[in-house]
């Protein structure tokens, strides 16, 4: 389109429109909803208890590592997008027969270098998250295990005998 609002202008209208609609909902809320704040209502939620300390708690540093790896891959993807539209362009291939092969080979080198990066991160163990381990609870019991086992054996045997008898009788 040569005149009027550009296509990016339409996007701007969408951005503004979305914000305006939220504004309308907010206005409706302001007109209709009650507003009686009190200190009890405004406390931070912590399952009904009084909040302990503030919310600046430690979190796992691996989230930061994930963010860093993402950044590299996202830049890679940005380079792939324009390339993807022209690497197999029929018109260019008619003029330059080896265009497609070269384009694919060059981009393969680029992607393989980044794959090596992923492999490095993988081998270094930065993709490993802390796994929960099953903990065997420690038992403090004066009764030796053999006594329990003996009781188990005794009653298991009897019940199986009863069952087989019941199965035979009818």
């Amino acid at each position: 389109m040569n005149h009027g609002i550009s296509e990016f202008g339409h996007v701007l209208l969408y951005l503004a429109g979305g914000a305006i609609f939220i504004g309308l909902i907010a206005l409706l809320n302001k007109l209709l909803a009650p507003n009686h704040p009190n200190p009890e209502k405004l406390t931070t939620y912590e399952c009904g208890e009084d909040p302990v300390g503030n919310a600046n708690v430690q979190f796992n540093i691996r989230f930061y590592v994930v963010g860093l790896i993402f950044l590299i891959f996202d830049v890679e993807i940005l380079f792939l997008f324009p390339w993807a539209t022209i690497f197999a362009d029929v018109k260019i291939i008619q003029n330059v027969p080896l265009w497609g092969v070269f384009a694919l080979a060059e981009m393969s080198i680029f992607v393989v270098i980044l794959l090596l990066g992923l492999l490095y991160v993988w081998v270094k163990g930065d993709l490993e998250w802390i796994k929960p381990e099953a903990l065997e609870p420690e038992r403090i019991n004066p009764v030796p295990d053999s006594l329990y086992e003996e009781i188990n054996r005794k009653y298991t045997y009897q019940s199986t005998v009863k069952k087989t008898q019941a199965g035979v009788t009818p």
């Binding site: 009027g4 339409h10 969408y14 909803a33 996202d74 792939l80 197999a88 992607v111």
Partner: protein, 367 residues
């Protein structure tokens, strides 16, 4: 002319918002009913026939509620977060071809723009979690951000693979080249010319069978992008109460909810356009029985209606699939989540990327 094209877009903006609002009402109701049927319950039954007005009543209640900003929260971040979350998803609809002639903004970088604008969502989540000054909210938002940026990579790589097969970033062109109105010849498996047959045979996923695993990767990663179960760690009710939006109530909560369902619909529609022909009809022309020409077209109102209906049908079927998955699989653990993304989906999608390159070059005769 300036005025008329501007007014046309404004009408589209209003229509999009109305549609998203109505869709959310329907989707929340559908989600509750589907979950009920899967778990052998009956679901909401009180408000209206079979509980059909339940979600409308819920939304009304949320708007009438007092909007609470906790005393400890940082007001600017807290108030801005729902707006950023909603507007970023809403603006994604600008580049979506709803029908053969309806697209609000048909610039040549459509898909790239949608990926970029959806990524802004992450900033909203982070500001919601940080601005709430709540431990659950902070942990939930950090988890959400890590998850969404990780799964953005396989999503984008798969989108690039489909773009390579079509040769355009404009979603309207991608949809157009999967039907009888294609501007380039449509080949099935690189052999038969099926430009005039159309129907489901000309969809990307049928024409290029290597895109079937690509669609599975796309579907899994978009589930994670939308924070849907089994990837709902950021909202894990049993450990984080409800994650980054634990402090939100009233209309702000409703807006976040609206954005969540709008995003679900958006990724499902993008999936339908990239793999299942967008607004193209699934019915092929069989000899003199030209079903494809009867059930689609360009330029007329009837054709537009057919297009919109086909696209929405495909989108809604994908959403029902998302719901089915949600109520079937248990939640993943954090280490399983990162392992799945970085060690399975990303290498898999790079493999599909190389396959796409070779297959496409072979098809156009450049190899």
């Amino acid at each position: 002319m300036v005025l008329s094209s501007g007014i046309l877009v404004l009408i589209q903006v209003a229509a999009t918002f109305t549609f998203i609002a109505l869709f959310t009402l329907w989707a929340v109701y559908a989600e509750r009913k589907v979950s009920a049927w899967i778990q052998d319950r009956i679901g909401p039954m009180e408000v209206g026939p079979h509980g059909a007005f339940q979600t409308a009543a819920d939304i009304l209640k949320l708007i009438l509620k007092e909007s609470i900003i906790p005393a400890a929260a940082q007001p600017l971040l807290f108030i801005a977060a729902p707006i950023v979350i909603f507007v970023s998803v809403f603006a994604g609809y600008a580049a979506l071809p709803v029908g053969p002639d309806i697209i609000a903004s048909s610039f040549s970088v459509g898909v790239l723009y949608i990926i970029a604008i959806i990524a802004v969502d992450v900033i909203g989540l982070l500001s919601a979690g940080w601005g709430s000054s709540n431990k659950y909210a902070l942990l939930g938002s950090v988890r959400a951000v890590a998850q969404m940026i990780s799964y953005e990579i396989p999503t984008a790589l798969i989108i690039i693979a489909t773009v390579m097969m079509t040769g355009s970033l404009n979603l309207q062109v991608i949809a157009l080249r999967q039907g009888i109105f294609s501007d380039v010849p449509v080949h099935l498996w690189g052999m038969m010319d099926i430009t005039h047959v159309g129907g489901f045979l000309s969809w990307n996923i049928v024409r290029y069978p290597h895109l079937i695993p690509a669609f599975i990767i796309f579907f899994i990663s978009t589930l994670a992008e939308c924070n849907r179960a089994p990837f709902d760690l950021p909202e894990a009710e049993s450990e984080l109460v409800s994650g980054f939006h634990v402090e939100y109530s009233g209309y702000r909560f409703a807006v976040i909810f609206l954005a969540e369902y709008a995003k679900m619909l958006l990724v499902c529609l993008i999936g339908a356009i990239l793999f299942f022909g967008g607004w193209n009809t699934p019915l092929p022309n069989i000899g003199s029985l030209s079903l494809a020409e009867w059930t689609s077209g360009t330029g007329t109102i009837a054709a537009t209606l057919w297009g919109v209906c086909w696209l929405l049908l495909k989108g809604v079927l994908l959403i029902l699939l998302q719901m089915w998955v949600r109520w079937t699989y248990p939640r993943l653990r954090m280490d399983q989540l990162t392992t799945l993304c970085w060690k399975y989906l990303i290498p898999g999608s790079i493999l599909i990327f190389f396959l796409s390159g070779i297959i496409r070059l072979w098809e156009v005769g450049g190899l």
